[in-house]
């Protein structure tokens, strides 16, 4: 045991001597790779001396109170000190080896190095002193304690600088500082100090500060930045390709010269783009951000890096109860977020607004950052009240009486950055006053008297403000009017009907014809009042308005039906998918629409439609009309043949007429089959409509059974 002890003690002395040697010949030593591994163990090893020394110190100073018997304590202290001296020595050796790898320079490194060495020597000295002077029964305890305390201080200093080397300066207290949100005042910020430097500070200065200066490069101040490092100047103003700074940032992550090196916090794409853009723009150190045009890359990147709305407020929150009491269905007062002191206010309901409604907000006027008064009947007294909302950031007063007289008050709101005065009486003059406000960033002047030319000019003068004029109808947009509306929708009526024509767009002139001719803007009748109709009539109508292309033509034929059957029955049921309201649909005066499945069409697939109509009294019939749908693409065809049978009852019928419709090439969606008959004293009428079986060649779906869709049978 004793042999091992003295062997270790001697070895320790040997190590200390080796350290001395190392320090003297530092510059000419070359480290083989095996030892480099030892060097890289430095961050692991350093924890041992820290803990061991701390324990030794605790036991020495407070051993008595810990009820450890003095001889035991003394031996324990010796053991701990022994171990800490040993590990300190190894740590120092490893640290020196690591430093030889290069990249560690600067004052912080020097402090760390020499404090570490000092700690190693001190602890070795103390160990020898403890052995000689104190021993199990030794005296001179005070000196020992002082020495141990000094080494503890040295330890803390060395540790601090070491940590700063690895994690960066101020690593420890960073979380406290980060609570303050990073903000950027776009009006006063300059590109280098407020945008570029913070990136360097966060991602580069860890290694390239005055205290570390890896590769001889310091990026902490403009002079050093221009001077560059061992590999040459970091910057060539205006030339991205020649700037070493950019080159290193863009190297492959695994490249040995890549910056920041693998494992260190990397630049975000926006940050990289920003530095790139700054170098490309000439790497000026003083350019203010506001001097750059709105669409400049640097400006846009700045907006990406510093989102504007993450704003902190310097006023206290208003009382929750007060806020609650201010809320009504017509005035909404809300904090903009949980735990935010800022309030946003919106007014609704023109009728319930008065100046008092705005006056009531006075107690929270400091907290209001966003106010919407659109559509409210504002007056001059409201204007004066607005001046008290000094923290207002966003104000929306669209569609109000606001005019140029308001602009002075508005321009003096110190924090106002977004103002919407669309649909107000603001003119160019007022806009000019508003734009003089230094805080203003966006203004909306759609639907005001401000001329487009004036906006263009003001935009040039105030490049930092977004002036939004919106859609201006220059008269160049000429759109076709949409379809006029003919009412009623149903095409069938019994005795008489009143037809109304209308158009959704106000001010449209409707021209119509009832003689079947095409309506035009010159000769056709102008629609002024509803049209009474008592006979089957075709109405064609078209809409006209200046500044618009005339509408499409709408046409509808209203068919009059005469005698009303007492009952209608279908001898075979329709297809279950299209059964409408059964036989009733055939005389309910309701016409089917363009959709065959709208519940008003009766559909029959490959089967004849056989309807029986009975009349209470004998009726003279000269025309039967069958309204059918045509959609050849969907296999919907008119019947191939219609047979009309009539008589006094079902047993006494004769064929009144037989009719074969002609197929057209471009069929209209509906067709009224008007079949002349000569029927006298008819009380019973049977309509048989037979489908195409199959659909003839040359037509869509030829060879298949056809559908028949029917919505009404009229009788005249």
């Amino acid at each position: 045991m004793k042999i091992i002890h003295s062997l270790l003690l001697n070895l320790l002395i040997g190590l200390v001597v080796f350290i001395l040697f190392f320090l003297v010949f530092e510059r000419i030593i070359v480290i083989p790779p095996v030892l480099q591994v030892v060097g890289r163990a430095h961050p692991l090893l350093l924890h041992f001396p820290i803990v061991l020394l701390l324990l030794a110190w605790l036991l020495t100073c407070f051993g008595n109170r810990l009820a450890v018997l003095p001889p035991v304590a003394s031996r324990m202290v010796y053991g701990l000190l022994f171990a800490s001296a040993w590990t300190a020595a190894i740590t120092v050796v490893a640290g020196l080896l690591l430093a030889q790898e290069g990249g560690y320079e600067g004052s912080g490194f020097q402090w760390h190095k020499w404090m570490g060495v000092a700690l190693c020597f001190l602890s070795t000295l103390l160990l020898v002193y403890h052995r000689r002077a104190i021993g199990p029964t030794g005296r001179y305890r005070l000196l020992f304690r002082v020495g141990l305390s000094i080494s503890l201080v040295v330890l803390v200093v060395a540790g601090h600088f070491g940590a700063a080397l690895t994690h960066g300066e101020d690593y420890l207290f960073e979380p406290l500082r980060q609570k303050q949100q990073k903000t950027l005042d776009f009006a006063t910020a300059a590109v280098f100090p407020d945008l570029v430097y913070p990136i360097l500070e966060a991602k580069c200065l860890n290694c390239h500060s005055n205290s570390k200066a890896k590769g001889g490069l310091v990026l902490a101040d403009t002079a050093s930045l221009l001077q560059g490092g061992e590999s040459g100047p970091a910057l060539v103003k205006g030339s991205v390709a020649e700037s070493l700074l950019i080159e290193r940032l863009l190297l492959d992550l695994d490249h040995e010269h890549r910056m920041p090196p693998k494992g260190k916090p990397q630049l975000t794409p926006e940050e990289l783009a920003l530095i790139n853009a700054w170098v490309a723009s000439g790497a000026d150190f003083n350019t203010p951000l506001a001097a750059l045009p709105m669409d400049d890359t640097i400006r846009q990147l700045a907006a990406a890096l510093y989102p504007v709305s993450e704003e902190t407020y310097d006023f206290p929150a208003a009382d929750v109860e007060v806020i609650k009491s201010l809320n009504t269905p017509y005035r909404v007062v809300r904090p903009i977020a949980q735990s935010s002191p800022a309030l946003s206010v919106i007014f609704f309901g023109k009728a319930s607004y008065s100046t008092q409604s705005l006056q009531a907000l006075k107690q929270v006027s400091r907290q209001i950052v966003s106010l919407t008064l659109s559509g409210m009947p504002l007056s001059a007294s409201d204007r004066d009240l607005l001046a008290t909302f000094t923290n207002l950031r966003e104000l929306t007063v669209n569609n109000t009486e606001v005019d140029d007289a308001w602009c002075d008050v508005l321009s003096r709101l110190p924090k106002l950055h977004t103002l919407s005065v669309s649909s107000t009486a603001i003119t160019e003059e007022g806009l000019g006053i508003l734009l003089a406000a230094p805080s203003l960033r966006a203004v909306y002047v759609w639907n005001t008297a401000v001329a487009a030319a004036a906006v263009a000019q003001l935009r040039q003068q105030h490049a930092h403000v977004r002036i939004e004029q919106g859609y201006v109808d220059s008269g160049e947009t000429v759109l076709p009017l949409n379809d006029p509306v003919i009412a009623p929708v149903s095409k069938f009526f019994r005795d008489s009907l009143v037809v109304t024509l209308s158009h959704p767009v106000p001010g449209v002139e409707l021209r119509y014809t009832i003689d079947g001719s095409e309506p035009d803007s010159l000769r056709s009748l102008i629609y002024r009042s509803p049209l009474p109709v008592s006979e089957t009539t075709s109405i064609r109508v078209r809409g006209y308005k200046s500044g618009w292309i005339s509408s499409r033509e709408m046409a509808r034929t209203f068919h009059r039906t005469g005698a009303e059957p007492s009952s209608v029955a279908l001898l075979a049921p329709p297809n279950p998918r299209y059964k409408a309201r059964g036989a009733h649909a055939l005389h309910d005066l309701e016409s089917g629409g363009s959709n065959h499945a709208d519940g008003k069409w009766l559909g029959f697939h490959g089967e004849p439609v056989t309807a029986v109509l009975s009349f209470d009294k004998a009726t003279d019939i000269h025309t039967i009309g069958i309204s059918v749908k045509q959609d050849y693409g969907r296999h919907i065809y008119p019947p191939q043949e219609v047979d009309l049978w009539g008589g006094t009852d079902s047993t006494d019928t004769r064929l009144l007429a037989q009719f074969r419709p002609e197929l057209s090439t471009g069929p209209s969606p509906t067709l009224m089959l008007e079949i002349p008959v000569a029927g006298h004293n008819v009380r019973y009428l049977r309509v048989e409509a037979k489908p195409f079986l199959p659909i003839p060649t040359g037509y869509p779906a030829a060879g298949n059974p056809a559908w028949i869709f029917v919505d009404e049978i009229i009788i005249r």
Partner: protein, 490 residues
């Protein structure tokens, strides 16, 4: 000796023995440290976590970019290949079979799984680049093309569902099966109503001329949330909100008297039972009463100036059309409605795509672009998030018979395009990329859950914190997934 041992044993037992007092005092230390630890869990005792309590605060978790949402839902599944995802390769390879390596073993719908070949088909319409952003837009959307610098086009959305109903339900509620709250209901629950004279969540439905799929009230359901958060449908015609008008013979005065009396009775009931639902009910009656004046005001389009009609197109004055719904959406938004959900049906082009797509696009293009422009000129776009898109995309191969001017496309959930505008989303951006066949995403995929998380984020809500306790667990719109797509945010 034996006695010593016994004493020692007793001493030991006494030491081990803990009476209740000791136990409790130890426990209190334990509880104290647990309490200390809990200080580090910020939302442990705040209202956000449990169902029902949230109504008390109804504030965003953090300062929002957007206050409102207008969702222009294109129901049926708009083809990305004829709208925003230009794929010249498909034109080159027209009629050739989709390479096996592209599709791999991904599933197809029953409608085309049986097809013997999967002939690729390129867009019938030409694409061109527009705006400063140089985004590619097809020729059927000339108006939207003019607005691309205000839009953020995402070409890399993908979904889990392959058929309409599950896909649209997934988009609306974050789950395919239904019965969960719709996105608008979640927002109403999370943020409350801005204007108490109108519902926080309004729904507008229109029908296009193309092949359509149904949209049902289950899509705007409140699910397990309070029924206050349900979407309210506004219809075209004389009665925009059903059952809102007084029945014939009732005037407003007697209605008022009725509500007052009813509130009196309800308050008595509340005093007896203290159920907050009773107060909620009284408030609902009051809101309905106020809606009797606010709804006619907001749905009245007669005061819109001529140039607004030109901006949206004249159909905006025809109630029930998509254009009219867009205009109404603007008015509702202007009046503080939190979430306006439009549905436009007719985008399900399994066949006759070139013809149908042109008709569909004609109906929605101008009004969609106009809505963005109109919000912008009123200074509302910054605080309103507009979203345009369908429930999935369409296949790059033809369904059914392929002709040079006529083809169809089946459902495709692997990639499709939507756009967003305003509300703190980067304008003039094209995000995400699909492969040259337009079949798989190769860059920046955005899942529906991510999409939801992003929307909530823009409204100041943390999608992981917006929860509701139901059936023994907390539910979220984003289920247990979703990442905010930070790249597309300003």
């Amino acid at each position: 000796m034996k006695k010593d041992k016994m004493i020692a044993k007793e001493v030991e037992q006494a030491r081990l023995y803990q009476n209740r007092r000791q136990f409790l005092s130890r426990l209190s230390v334990g509880i104290g440290s647990a309490a200390l630890g809990s200080l580090l869990i910020p939302d442990l005792f705040s209202s956000g976590g449990t169902g029902g309590d949230r109504a008390a605060s109804m504030l965003p978790h953090f300062a929002p970019k957007a206050k409102r949402v207008i969702y222009l839902f294109q129901s049926g599944g708009v083809s990305q290949l004829e709208s925003f995802d230009a794929k010249p390769k498909l034109r080159e390879m027209m009629g050739q079979d989709l390479p096996e390596s592209v599709r791999g073993s991904q599933r197809l719908t029953g409608m085309t799984a049986g097809q013997e070949t999967f002939p690729l088909v390129g867009s019938y319409y030409d694409f061109a680049q527009y705006g400063k952003s140089g985004a590619w837009v097809s020729s059927v959307f000339p108006h939207m093309a003019k607005m691309v610098d205000d839009l953020c086009i995402i070409r890399s959305l993908h979904t889990d569902a392959i058929n309409h109903d599950p896909a649209i339900t997934f988009f609306q509620t974050g789950a395919q099966q239904g019965n969960r709250p719709s996105m608008g209901a979640w927002l109403s629950y999370g943020l409350g109503s801005e204007n108490q004279n109108l519902p926080a969540f309004c729904v507008l439905v229109s029908k296009g001329r193309g092949n359509g799929q149904g949209v049902y009230a289950k899509l705007w359901t409140n699910g397990f949330l309070d029924s206050v958060h349900q979407g309210v449908q506004f219809m075209g015609g004389p009665d925009p909100v059903l059952y809102l008008n007084d029945p014939p013979g009732t005037d407003r005065m007697s209605r008022r008297a009725l509500f007052d009396k009813l509130a009196e009775l309800n308050n008595l009931h509340f005093d007896a039972f203290g159920d907050p639902e009773i107060t909620a009910k009284v408030q609902q009656y009051e809101m309905a009463y106020r809606m009797q004046t606010s709804v006619p005001e907001v749905t009245d389009l007669s005061n819109e100036p001529d140039h607004i009609i030109k901006l949206y197109g004249p159909d905006c004055l025809v109630p029930g059309t998509y254009a009219a719904n867009c205009l109404l959406a603007r008015k509702l938004t202007e009046n503080g409605v939190r979430f306006v959900q439009l549905y436009h049906q007719g985008w399900d082009q399994h066949d006759s795509l070139p013809g149908q797509m042109a008709m569909q696009a004609k109906d929605v293009d101008q009004a969609s672009a106009a809505l963005v422009a109109d919000l912008k000129q009123r200074g509302l776009l910054d605080e309103t998030l507009v979203i345009w898109g369908g429930e999935f995309g369409r296949t790059n191969y033809c369904q059914g018979r392929l002709a040079h001017d006529n083809y169809g496309r089946d459902h495709h959930p692997r990639c499709f395009s939507v756009w967003m505008a305003g509300g703190g989303v980067k304008p003039g951006m094209v995000y995400g990329e699909t492969d040259e066949f337009g079949y798989n995403i190769v860059k920046d995929p955005v899942h529906v859950h991510d999409f939801h998380a992003t929307i909530l984020h823009q409204l100041g809500l943390d999608h992981e914190k917006l929860t509701y306790r139901h059936l023994g667990r907390r539910y979220r719109l984003t289920d247990v997934a979703g990442t905010v797509v930070k790249d597309i945010l300003v």
